[in-house]
């Protein structure tokens, strides 16, 4: 399972969900997969959305992807993300809607 395959798969799910539910979400990768994607045992995925209702919709929409990949899913509201400063403190890489190239630089 190459890092490029993983990113492509997650981004295609993000596209699907943006069409089905809405475009309000920002998707990030963090943790071991963002540092050493080739040997990571799991994939830390953060999605920031506006409300708790949206987090529930997202969980349901992502159940197939979470069975396909060993994803540790972290869903935060915008308020929680601001409160914790999670994106900066954990050095999260945005992968959707914008794909930051640096995540793929680490792939073979």
């Amino acid at each position: 399972m190459s890092p490029n395959y993983v990113i492509d798969l997650i981004r295609s799910e993000a596209e699907r969900i943006a069409t089905a539910i809405g475009k309000d979400f920002i998707w990030y990768i963090f943790g071991s997969f963002s540092r050493e994607p080739k040997i990571a045992a799991d994939i830390d995925l953060l999605i920031i959305c506006h409300s708790h209702r949206q987090t529930q919709e997202l969980r349901t929409a992502l159940s197939g992807l979470c069975l396909e990949l060993p994803i540790h899913l972290l869903l935060m509201t915008t308020e929680e993300a601001i409160e914790t400063q999670f994106v900066s403190s954990q050095k999260c890489y945005e992968i959707f809607p914008t794909l930051r190239a640096s995540i793929l630089d680490k792939a073979p």
């Binding site: 708790h52 308020e79 929680e80 914790t84």
Partner: protein, 216 residues
């Protein structure tokens, strides 16, 4: 989109080699890996891929008896209490890929227990108000206390406890009386506090939780 179980097992074997956990990781079946390691004897690991690991997922490996650990690949998943009890009786270890990697460093893989579960279970056994405890599933325990009603809790190990964590715990693991945030560096977001209040499930960290066990 779905990968075959054999492809998933091959991927796990590759991770064990890439992480240098294993010197060899040989597929001997679609869901079985023989793991050779530098210090200790080889062992067999069974790989499953389920959002809810129940007895029927593990029974074939229990019947065969040769696997020492069963690892479930999806992280967003739950091990049922029945499956856990069946494996503990053998004994066979259980967990995810990270558990498989950690267990590979133990001479006796069968008796491996994830450190967060070991820590909490030891704490419960040493608490003078605790008579016994049961496990409803991977993350919900029911504590039976001397002269007090039972208290159930869900064990969550996160750096930032969010509202979604608590809602998901309720959906995935069922009812519980309290939340134990077991990460010593973990913080509780305002969103988590709000959801917990709405659900009437107080959130405790470890020291506070030990105190809670003293109260009816």
């Amino acid at each position: 989109m779905a990968r075959s179980l054999e492809d998933t097992t091959k991927w796990v074997a590759g991770i064990l080699l890439d992480r240098k956990v294993a010197t060899e990781a040989e597929l001997i079946g679609p869901q079985l890996i023989r793991v050779s390691r530098p210090k200790f004897a080889p062992f067999l690991a069974a790989i499953v891929n389920s959002s809810r690991v129940a007895i029927h997922d593990v029974q074939p490996f229990v019947d065969a008896g040769d696997a020492e650990i069963i690892a479930n690949v999806p992280k967003e998943s739950v091990w049922t209490g029945d499956a856990i009890r069946l494996l503990e009786e053998q004994p066979m270890a259980f967990g995810g890929i990270r558990d498989l990697m950690s267990a590979s460093a133990d001479e006796d893989v069968r008796t491996y227990v994830r450190s967060e579960y070991r820590f909490v279970e030891r704490g419960l056994r040493q608490h003078d108000k605790v008579e016994s405890f049961d496990r409803e599933n991977e993350r919900v325990y029911v504590v039976h206390r001397h002269s007090m009603k039972p208290l159930s809790f869900v064990l969550i190990n996160e750096y930032e406890l969010t509202g979604d964590h608590i809602r998901t715990a309720r959906d995935r693991y069922g009812a519980f009386d309290t939340v134990l945030l077991n990460n010593p560096n973990g913080t509780i977001t305002a969103g988590a506090e709000s959801v917990a209040k709405a659900m009437k499930v107080p959130v405790f960290k470890w020291g506070q939780f030990l105190g809670r066990l003293n109260s009816p």
